[in-house]
Amino acid sequence: MADSTTADPTRRDFLYIATGAAGAIGIGLAAWPFIDQMNPTSAVLAMASIEIDLTPIQPGQAIVMTFRSHPLFVRRRTPKEIASAKTVKLADLPDKLARNENLPDDAPATDENREIKSEWYISSGVCTHLGCTPTAFEGDYGGWLCHCHGSQYDTAGRIRKGPAPQNLAIPKYAFLTPTRVKVG
């Protein structure tokens, strides 16, 4: 076939490319349902918010709730714990962002930006390293220590030491009454 080397595309070339392109798009379209079926179902996405009654929690006590199938930390901080969190310089923090959904994304990780009411600390209980649940009142900073890989958080849930890259995430929440908080 001497003329197969000519530069002019033939009708056959066009058909090859058109068929190939249609086939690739078809495979992509057919594959998508098989990929997307793994994402959360509507039932999972429809999970509601929770309300927490704060009255039984004493100063210096930390509890763990369930929120969107993850642990949620609620801690009534003592004045000493608040003071130790406030004295930390921003420059000493590995993660300088507040990671607080109630504030803009670029809010700095000061203690004020980590709580709505200074006494009540509320955040996700998921270690930002590999998702374990840290233990309260342990570690060098009196906050939380994650036993899986040794990440340490201070009393404002900020990462201070270890492999975790970020401060504990704070979900949207609001005080309905002084003793009742709605998360989510």
Binding site: V64, R68, S69, C148, H149
Partner: protein, 417 residues
């Protein structure tokens, strides 16, 4: 060595069959007359042992699947029901559970043997790479299976391992979270996760079986390497696979199953973690979370890195490294028997692997026993040696080392003894 077939059909039926589906010819050429180097030693029997273990895991697994319920509310109790109520359920589960450990014991010996005798070198690169892919598939299968009993260790192993992908958040914001949500089918490890893990745990062994088929195919093109690492020169260097190696493999397989039986009947839970008999609790992470023994060296590497993304890269890189070995080794001599420097470095690597395993089994803040030296630094040194062995020492030693004199043929030193 996949030369002309020596199969001669003996009956009218086999002659009829041979011209239609030459399956008996294939079986004869593969496992009966296949010319095999006459000097294969004990360390070469683990290929057969691994094939046996794959069969054991598939058979016991299929039977266990008849009694297991992949639902987060019922899974733990269904495993307990297998242990207590199902006839011989305890035996089937203990065989399957310890079978995973035996499988990895055999595969590590098999891999170190390949490394020692240079079995990855030309023309066996594809053979080696298929082995590495099979190893990774085994890791995935073992991990997925470990999640199924839905105990505390199951749940938190699933959480930690799937969260490795959240490290991608540090590359593209929200990418990692999107991947983990997709893997979980929710915002955390949940019922949806258990269901898909069960489905994939059932699938992967058959993928492994396919990979093993390719592995053996790739083996039968150049034929076996051997402890001398020199090529077969003629028929005087080989013996037929049957009866010589069928019997040798069978003998060591029996010894191996004795060890297997000791674990199954005498210490079935020795290699497991007691916390996995506590039902999964998403709110409480166990004090010390430890993977199964066969993952400990890799776990120690992950933990030794204080930065998340880099830790994950080091972990996956340690397995990916194995793919490049055929090209990282610059020596023209295959067998470490003739390579004094490489041999020494090889044994240091073996010790390194065991040391990393020990580091992985201890808590994060532990010290070297009797000292104030943090174990995490031992793990760091171990990780550096692991990478240095493959990426630095292996290419370098091949260039500077002066290998010993190779024998003229396989037959000669064998007959001289």
């Amino acid at each position: 060595m996949s030369g002309p077939s020596s199969y001669v059909p003996q009956t009218a039926f086999t002659r009829w069959l041979d011209t239609r589906l030459p399956i008996l010819r294939f079986a004869n050429d593969t496992i009966m007359t296949f010319p095999t180097p006459r000097n294969l030693n004990f360390w070469y029997t683990f290929g057969g042992i691994l094939t046996f273990m794959l069969g054991v895991q598939i058979v016991t697994g299929i039977v266990l699947a008849m009694h297991y319920v992949p639902n987060s509310d019922l899974a733990f109790n269904s495993v307990e029901s297998i242990m207590r109520d199902v006839n011989y359920g305890w035996l089937l589960r203990y065989v399957h559970m310890n079978g995973a450990s035996m499988f990895f014991l055999a595969v590590y010996i098999h891999m170190f043997r390949g490394l020692y005798y240079g079995s990855y070198k030309a023309p066996r690169e594809i053979l080696w790479i298929l082995g590495v892919i099979t190893f990774v598939a085994m890791i995935a299968t073992a991990f997925l299976g470990y999640v199924l009993p839905w105990g505390q260790m199951s749940f938190w192993a699933a959480t930690v391992i799937t969260n490795l992908f959240s490290a991608f958040d540090q590359v593209v914001p929200h990418l990692g979270t999107a991947i983990t949500t997709w893997l979980w089918g929710g915002f955390g490890v949940s019922d949806a996760t258990l269901n898909r893990f069960y489905s994939l745990h059932y699938l992967l062994p058959f993928v492994i079986a396919g990979l093993v088929g390719l592995h053996i195919w790739a083996l039968h093109v150049p034929g076996n390497n051997n402890p001398l690492g020199i090529d077969v020169k003629g028929p005087q260097d080989t013996v037929p696979f049957h009866p010589y190696y069928t019997v040798k493999d069978a003998f060591y397989l029996v010894l191996f199953t004795v060890l297997f039986a000791v674990f199954v009947f005498e210490a079935p839970n020795m290699l497991g973690h007691p916390d996995n008999y506590i039902p999964a609790n998403p709110l409480v992470t166990p004090k010390d979370i430890v993977p199964e023994w066969y993952f400990l060296p890799f776990y120690a590497m992950l933990r030794s890195i204080p930065q998340k993304l880099f830790g994950v890269i080091v972990l996956f890189g340690s397995m990916l490294t194995l793919v490049f070995i055929p090209w990282l080794d610059t020596s023209r001599v295959r067998s470490a028997s003739f390579r004094p420097i490489f041999r020494l470095l090889f044994w240091i690597l073996v010790v390194d692997g065991i040391t990393l395993g020990y580091c992985g089994s201890q808590s994060v803040d532990a010290n070297l026993p009797g000292t104030m030296f943090p174990l995490v630094w031992v793990a760091r040194i171990g990780t550096i040696y692991y990478y240095a062995f493959f990426w630095l020492l292996m290419p370098l030693v091949g260039l500077i080392e002066r290998p010993g004199k190779l024998p003229d043929s396989i037959a000669k030193p064998v007959l001289a003894k």
